[in-house]
Symmetry: C2
Subunit: 402 residues, 2 copies
């Protein structure tokens, strides 16, 4: 167990968690309910869109070559041989020098490769059309498969479906989509000092924050949180509650019990389960050093610090790469003050953002680590890497948005 | 009606919609279900956090002034008069020259204003403590209300609750929160050419995309969409379906029917309702020129283009400021090519983003306006303002993320 007592880098921790976490499986989801769901496999188009060469204008379908050289003074003559019906395949083909009336959205008849807008034509009697302009092949035509071609990749596995993606699926007649099942996530807050939020804390007591904030974060990542009743710093109680959570959740988040004596108790309880394996205990990060993880069979237990700010930050840092498939766009911002950081440790510092003249600035929200109000004022956080001694005022930093 | 036939700027359109839209009311929501909900009124803290001066270390509570000048060679002497109990108010006060043992989280007794870490002290017998370092007033103490003070603003109206915000509410014992009720939003797709997505389109037919993509977008903004059955280009059918939607929805989104003849039919139907008032008909934007809005009593009907890409883009452009309270962070990116734009018209161009060396670049996704695949490849869109003739390759543009 010796090697696990050394603190681990957060990146290595994420890697171990990834390897330990079993897949959640997949299910078929009607597209109406698929917003925010994660595509579970490669999704290709079942058909061409459009399914045929389609005119994008009202005018005449013709062979472009027959129009070359046409002008106001020297129009090209076409024999009008029919009308393309809206909503049906034209029953005729065009020969050289022939044209057919075509409405917007109509299907180009065989033998034609372009459409000439009606504005540039004149009808002469019943069966002759003068073209005052040439068109090039393909002009005013959307080609078969030009938008999406049959077999083309629509979305890779892991893609999170947005409204426009659902629109694309609808347009291709895809009514259900294979998506990743959400994880069931048990949440247990522990600690003798933690009381239900309905109660008024005596000195030394704190209300249970983590059951609420972690559940909201898990739900926001698309998984199903289940919060269990509070547990004191008691091995038997903790053991019973963890066992209950392991029964019905792939992942259990345990918060609290990270002070020295209690951490040992937590670890002892977790390692007492048959098939348990310590993944890590202690991370080289701030905040959140006492974070730990144990694999129990195919289940995962992550022990987070009891402090609400640390618990939330650590969950964000190590769980996002694991549980959140949404695309998070890094935002670049100028730091408004120096931040010192201890080398050898990854620091995650909450920041608030301000926008001025096409530029974001990030103000680090420093303060005593107890300040819950800080996270509520933060827009995101910056990462000071272990190799850095800090960041300077004015430095461009990448902000992970909450 | 003359003035309404002139096309309107999109900003003016948003303004008219805002003025016409009635509030959705408010409701009380348990914090467990409040993620993503919009705070409906000013929310202030009911109490101080912490509720008392709290030690952040294990050590001795004392009056800082008594420690001034203390050093390794010349320690200050304190009389130890008690132990601060964890989870209770100390039953004693300190006089000058006195100290008391205090655990992390313990409440400072009256007469003390700082805590000295145990590491810098030595106990001499039962009732004397040597301090080898001075502390300044407030050192190692979190003051009453330092995190959040009673009456302090927690969240302004319109704030969308995130996990950390829910955590803050929990820590203050706030169990329910007043939030804005979601709007009920009816969605009607119309057009003779529109078929259910389960069917295979004949030439000239298209599957119903808008019922799905608009519903997903409405739901993503936190409102309740309800999609109605498809309607053909028939005044009576349309009138009946709109009447049905008006019955139970504050907002009705009508898509399709924007080609010249059909648009008149749509407008006639909407204006035939008693109490109807045309807000606008036609916007100086691309895509989405034929967008219209009618107020009917206290209900709002927005007519969107039938084309799925235009419908979605227009809904995003004019409905976000109205219906979406989430904070959308503008991302600055370098354009990868020139884009031309017609002055006098606001252009909204989908872009895909790439990140390299701390810099985002935005590639405009241009193409025939029919391309549904474009939006699925886009990360967001840029806005070319009506006063601009386009944007140059390399220009820094602000990207609205989807």
């Amino acid at each position: 167990m010796g090697e696990f007592l050394k603190v681990l880098s957060y990146a290595e921790a994420i890697q171990r968690l990834k390897e330990a976490l079993s897949g959640a499986g997949q299910e078929e989801c009607p597209i109406q309910q698929s917003r925010g769901r994660v595509v579970s496999g490669q999704l290709n188009s079942p058909e061409d869109m459009p399914a045929f060469n389609r005119s994008t204008v009202d005018g005449y379908a013709l062979c472009a070559q027959d129009s070359f050289g046409a002008s106001e003074s020297l129009p090209a003559f076409f024999r009008l041989v029919g009308t393309v019906p809206m909503g049906a395949v034209p029953a005729f083909a065009l020969n050289s020098g022939e044209c057919a009336w075509i409405p917007t959205g109509g299907m180009l008849p065989t033998g034609s490769d372009a459409a000439l807008m009606v504005e540039y034509t004149e009808k002469l009697g019943d069966d002759t059309v003068l073209a005052y302009r040439p068109v090039s092949p393909g002009e005013n035509v959307m080609q078969t498969g030009e938008d999406i071609s049959r077999g083309q990749s629509l979305f890779p596995p892991g893609h999170v479906l947005r409204p426009q993606d659902i629109g694309l699926l609808a347009s291709l007649g895809i009514t259900t989509v294979p998506v990743v099942k959400p994880y069931q996530v048990g949440i247990i807050s522990s600690g003798d000092e933690v009381i239900p939020i309905e109660e008024y804390p005596q000195p030394g007591q704190v209300r249970d924050v983590n059951s609420y904030s972690l559940a909201a974060m898990v739900a926001g990542m698309g998984h199903n949180p289940h919060s269990y009743p509070l547990v004191g710093d008691d091995a038997e109680q903790l053991q019973a509650m963890v066992a209950k959570s392991l029964d019905s959740n792939q992942i259990t988040l345990l918060s609290g019990g990270s002070s020295v004596g209690v951490a040992d108790l937590t670890l002892d309880v977790l390692l007492s389960f048959p098939g348990s394996e310590l993944l890590f205990h202690g991370l080289a990060v701030k905040p959140g050093k006492p974070t730990l993880a144990v694999k129990i069979g195919d289940r995962l237990v992550i022990g987070l610090p009891g402090h609400p700010v640390s618990a939330l930050m650590m969950f964000m840092v190590i769980a996002r790469p694991l549980l959140d498939s949404r695309k998070h766009y890094t935002l670049y911002a100028c730091l408004t003050q120096n931040i010192a950081s201890q080398p050898g440790r990854d620091d995650f510092v909450p920041v608030s953002l301000a926008e001025e003249a096409g530029q974001w600035s990030a103000r680090p929200l420093l303060g005593k680590s107890g300040l819950m109000g800080i996270l509520a004022r933060a827009d995101g956080y910056i990462h000071i890497r272990a190799v850095e001694q800090g960041l300077n005022n004015g430095a461009v930093c990448s902000v992970c948005l909450f």
